[in-house]
């Protein structure tokens, strides 16, 4: 017995370029020619793009020039990162943990770090460059950036030699252990049981409801201010 929604409103696809050409008022004085481009916006200059194009990809595209070692990175990390992330990436207080957690992913208490979870090392350099240190973003570049990232990878046992040099040349060769454990969204296959024709409407479960757990018992709802953290 299916509900009849009070009003069904088909949302048409947003207007593409064709729409105005078909339905808009052209100037009455002279019909507008069907146009391929609106001619709005100007060309972005190469130097403008260079200033903002800071992304790095796993294949190395976008890596900034520079080089560094974990040994050089340690001091920088201690000065600029450790206050939050701990001297060894173990985290100070509730700030994110950056290292550890190996072998924990299938456990009851997975610890997802660069070493234990992340699929690509390029993500570290990209992210630190764009977002860290927290509150002083986009301040790291060149050799300092490579050195800090090398130290973070060293903390994660991704590189084991403190003097191994990472650079825009060598960086793409750094591989992370967990890469193969990611797979693309497969819900439409693995969860196809959730597409049900006729969900049960009467006598779907036997017996009276039994309470298995109550949020009240856990008692972490504000204002209480205690309890587990989530990401």
């Amino acid at each position: 017995q299916s509900a009849k929604p009070a009003g069904k409103e088909p949302q048409a696809k947003p207007a593409g370029k064709e729409t105005p050409a078909k339905t808009a008022a052209a100037p009455a004085v002279a019909a507008a020619p069907a146009k391929v481009h609106y001619g709005i916006g100007r060309e972005a200059k190469p130097e403008e793009i260079a200033g903002w194009d800071i992304d790095v990809r796993p294949d190395g595209q976008g890596l900034p020039p520079g080089k560094g070692t974990a040994r050089k990175g340690e001091e920088l990390f201690v000065t600029q990162c450790a206050a939050c992330h701990g001297e060894f990436g173990e985290s100070a207080g509730r700030w994110p943990v950056l290292a550890g957690g190996a072998g924990s992913l299938a456990s009851h208490d997975p610890v997802k770090t660069i070493g234990s979870y992340w699929p690509y090392a390029s993500t570290v350099i990209d992210y630190v460059r764009r977002a860290m240190p927290f509150g002083n973003a986009q301040s790291l570049e060149g050799d300092d950036l490579y050195s800090i990232v090398a130290y973070v990878l060293y903390l994660n046992d991704v590189i084991t030699d403190q003097d191994q040099e990472l650079s825009d040349k060598s960086f793409p060769t750094v591989k992370l252990a967990n890469e193969a454990n990611f797979f693309d969204d497969d819900r439409e296959v693995s969860e196809k049981a959730f597409w049900k024709k006729d969900p049960c409407m009467t006598n779907c479960v036997a017996g009276a409801p039994k309470i298995l757990g109550r949020a009240r018992a856990i008692d972490v709802t504000p204002e209480d201010g205690k309890g587990p953290r989530v990401e």
Binding site: Q1, S2, A3, P5, A6, K8, E9, P10, Q11, K13, P14, A15, K17, H37, Y38, I40, G41, E43, I49, W52, D53, D55, R57, P58, R94, P96, L105, A106, I114, Y120, T123, D126, A131, F134, A137, Q138, N181, F182, D184, D185, R187, F194, K197, P199, M201, T202, C204, V205, P209, L212, G213, R214, A215, I218, P222, G225, P228, R229, V230, E231
Partner: protein, 403 residues
Amino acid sequence: AALGPGTAAVAAEPGNPANLPPNVPEWSKTLGDGVAVRAYGKPSKHEAHVIRRDVEWLTASRESSVSFTPLHELDGIITPNGLCFERHHSGIAELDPNDYRLMIHGLVDKPLMFTLQDLERLPRTNRVYFAECAANSGMEWRGAQMNACQFTHGMIHNVMYTGVPLRVLLEEAGLKTNAKWLLLEGADSAAMTRSLPLQKALDDCLIAFRMNGERLRPENGYPVRICVPGWEANMWVKWLRRIEVGDQPWHHREETSKYTDLLENGKARRFTYVMDAKSVITSPSPQTPFRHGRGFTVVSGIAWSGRGKVARVDVTLDGGRNWRTARIDGPVFDKSMVRFYAEFDWDGRELFLQSRAMDETGYVQPTKDELRKVRGVNSVYHNNGIQTWRVSPEGEVENVEIA
């Protein structure tokens, strides 16, 4: 006052007798504030409890945290702008709109730079979409934890956007034949990035500059954000400054470290974009219990699906033994919240309220156990399991899990 099962008390009538008939209250005698005294209005002082709230223990700092929409205090399908949940990764970027620029480059014929004024010269459209954080209900994977609808389900809002279809901008720049992915990047100090498949970009994404009629709010990306209808809100990059066109995804932090779904075997799903069909009863709920005693009453809630329109919502009063189809009331849009109601005569007995959404693709919102069976409890994201509220004979409501 607890009166035992089946004897729910009728609350005494509220109010100050001096203001009730036959008496005439002050506000019926004296002048109030004149027009335009409140040039930009705000809610009554008696609604000061209707606010976004955060959970202090969730994160180390409010600049990277979330605040929750008070769903239990809302009705209909529009979320007022001042109450839209927030998720920032480095606080609110406060842009001067004159300094706003959107850059489009990469695998395009001509890299382009747009001002805000430029965007408003292109054909625009108005659409109502929900934006739900993939981590909504993420605290409930292992069991009932947050005793408030605001905190179990409040990482969602539903807004009418005005914007330019992303397709228009991409066609203006001209796509190279090997274009397959887009990088979206924000101007906040997290420089938030996500990779977006080109097909979605050309389908229904909007470069939005207005919400519910007015300019975007600072906390929602002023002056420009992207809407990625039906997909997890983390992709709806705020303060959008740059779109790079490429031939492969970037695998950035928000699509590797975060927003990947760890399964029980240690493997993880990535690129889980679509928000599955979901619903929740917003009233009664722990923050808005039944205060009226027995009798006719209204159960009200919201439902949504990232796959299209909500087709139907069922409600149970007895914890899923028996279901009735609820009344959907108000507009039903594609990838938008709907509002549903189920009226009934409460005889004062204990209730186990649940709602179950179905969308036009035939997807049926699963129970939490059905979900855990496929995903385990470590996924963090995409928890769309059926919510149970227990109503006590006194009308109190609590978040429980039942068998």
